[in-house]
Amino acid sequence: MKEITLTINDAQVRGKEGDTVLEICKANGIDVPTLCHLEGLSDVGACRMCVVEIGGERRPVPSCTYPARDGLVVKTSTEQLERYRRQILELLFTERNHFCMFCEQSGDCELQKLAYRYQMDNVRYPYTFPSLPVDPLSDYMVIDHNRCVLCGRCVRVCSEIAASHTLDFGRRGWRTLVSADLQQPLSESSCTSCGACVQACPTGAIFSKLSLYKGKTSECQRITTVCPLCSVGCQLDVLVKDNNIVRIEAPRLTELTGPLCRMGRFELLRETRPRVTSPMVRGKQGELEECSWDRALDAIVKRARRAKDGFAGIISARLPNETLSLFNKLIHEVIGSDSIDTLGGWSYRIIAEGVRQFQNGQEGSEIECPMGEILEADCILVAGADPDRTHPIIGTLVRRAVSQRKAKLIVVDPSKDVFPFWTDLWLKPVAGSEGFVLNGLAKILLDKGLVASGKAKPELTRSLSQYKPGEVNRATGIEIADLELAAEMYGRAKHGVIIYGEGLLEKNDPSLVASLLNLANLTGNGVGNRLRVISLKPSANSRGGWELGLATRDIKRDRLKGLYLLLGDEDVDGELLEWLKGIDFLVVQASYHSPATSIADVVLPSPTWAEREGKYINMDGLLLQLKRVLQPKDGMLQDQEILIELSKKLGHELSPS
């Protein structure tokens, strides 16, 4: 980019050709007031707060949309400009119904801050008092059109960053309203409830129900940690006041995981389950009763000594590496059992076995690509995954690729088009016939010559020979034309990405994973040695658990005499619960009461995600640091302290790793 020199407020400053005047001002520390501008979003010049005078222009121009040129002479603060800015503010205040005294955003509102800055102590125009609706129906947020200044930050963040494009402007002129789809309530629209608009809104026009009146930013401490809810591992800024969480924000809205999702931004604040606050053991009457740590741990020691290798451990993969590692040592070294697993560990075993089959018996190395590759994709095949439900940021990245890069989107799912309105082609196989689809697509790639040179190995050609389109059509019920179309889309793409998850893994069939890897491999469009394939690992630290070796084999159920279930924040599903009921001696260490704690013989209190610290390994293999955002109550122990204490009673000194 060519370097240019401008004169701003009588000083020489440098910038790059293509920058806007506002960008150059900001880069040079020159303060220009803005309202509709938000770093990382496109600029539209909606509010006119950033007007500047430019030599040669007849009237002030918005600096956010004015391209800088070499030799421009700019003034950012003249008497006339300051008068205009105050006038704009007065007009904004008269245009809608701004009542600061009971607005949730008062104190954090950018409109209000600007009014203070321009000492707007009266308004010279008559107020319009328009009658405007409020949409309070969403579980998470409220749209109050009375407080909207039509800056369009929500509209742009929804389309450019969250890639949902639910919000846009409806109606025209002074009747314009921000509108979800075709003026639907947000709760009935295509909104994914990521809440990026809440963070982008400069006023109280879109605000979170879960943070209402809990505190202002200036009263809060901001702690950056990692979301515990899925393996994407978004960074969260948690705003804390008086040991309570006020709000969760993205540190930077515009980074890869910036929009966050309804889970990280909102669901974490909707916790209503009752906490486990004290150790408990089952008393003589068979009822759980609160007891001392000593009594609870002694009860475990007694049974663990007796059970030895009949004692197993299952741990939540939402817990950090440090806890996973200590738990591993406790079960292996201290108790002397090799029965250990993580919740969701079964999915690892299927993926690992699938990779082994794909690599002809060799152990799996790093063969998946990072999630950022989704943004580079020109075709995305989603097989047995529902990202919006399990890993919403992945859903956002997919939509961004479709809307911004015109990527083709193919969904393979027997029951649901997981990206309605976005999917180019939904292949709907008869349940259980997914393997036919994957192999059938590979066969078409081979037949049409859409494979990279050297990839069509004879044994592969032979093994795929049975998947002729007619056969696949009979097995799956999918039209041959659709299969061919999908193969064309995926096979001709330069950066085709395959995403798979729960739906595929649930089939409990590693050969599906191998088929999928084969399909990706045939195109030869890898990233270095890696395939453009992404598996959606179930929990925030699933990968930590796998890499630390906690999920390598199934627990031997036949000789089981006792089980230590370290649940943390998680609940167990119905199937696991039924299995737990049959266990002789059950220890549950959990943050919350649940059916699992109610059938336990010993219950130990665990901190919550917000009270823990440690490290996660996210789905991309990045090591992420969790920070403690809330102080636990007196008498609570960290998970690791409990494990060390228990080991001590069993005669081993474990040290935190």
Binding site: Q112, Q119, Y127, F129
Partner: protein, 178 residues
């Protein structure tokens, strides 16, 4: 030096601004060396004598408010207004989102605690204006102290500026709309 004569009144409001004024606490003692409060809700004197400074809290909501504002304007050299209602319309102006009839109906007939209600009408009751207005839409205002209510500090700042012979404009740091 003769004391500066001040008259204050409250119109469509909650009295919060006057409470904030009383929150000056011990600073009031010093202030009263320099000013004399004549007609005011605090002294309970109703008729305005000619004064140097007139102060209005509250918006213009009915015919009485309009008349009092005009009277005070006619009797003062400088008119200062306190609070969001007087400056912008404030909470009182929220009724502008509805018609006058709907407001009266809701308040006197339909509110949950009302049984056999009746909209009062008497020539002694000043009629509501169709719309609540900030004071500067009825009479000329010389200076504004917004806030809901303005802090004692903001009120003190404004009065001190006036006593120094300057028309106060609140600095950004102490200006509040809440």
């Amino acid at each position: 030096m003769a004391k500066v004569k001040v008259a204050t009144t409250w119109l469509d409001c909650c009295a919060g601004c006057h409470m904030s004024f009383l929150d000056l606490d011990e600073a009031l003692i010093g202030l009263l060396e320099a000013i004399e409060i004549t007609a005011s809700p605090i002294t309970d004197i109703k008729e305005f004598p000619p004064v140097d400074v007139g102060i209005i809290e509250g918006a213009i909501g009915n015919a009485h408010d309009e008349e009092v504002a005009k009277k005070l304007r006619a009797n003062c050299k400088i008119l200062m207004v306190w609070g969001d209602c007087a400056c912008f319309g404030g909470i009182c102006a929220m009724r502008n989102l509805f018609t006058k009839e709907a407001v009266l109906r809701r308040y006197y007939l339909e509110s949950e605690s009302t049984k056999n209600g009746k909209i009062p009408s008497s020539e002694d009751i000043p009629p509501l204006l169709e719309r609540v207005k900030p004071v500067n839409q009825v009479v000329k205002v010389d200076c504004y102290v917004p806030g809901c209510p303005p802090s004692a500090k903001a009120i003190h700042y404004a009065l001190a500026e006036l006593l120094e012979g300057r028309i106060p404009v609140l600095p950004s740091e102490i200006m509040r709309f809440d």
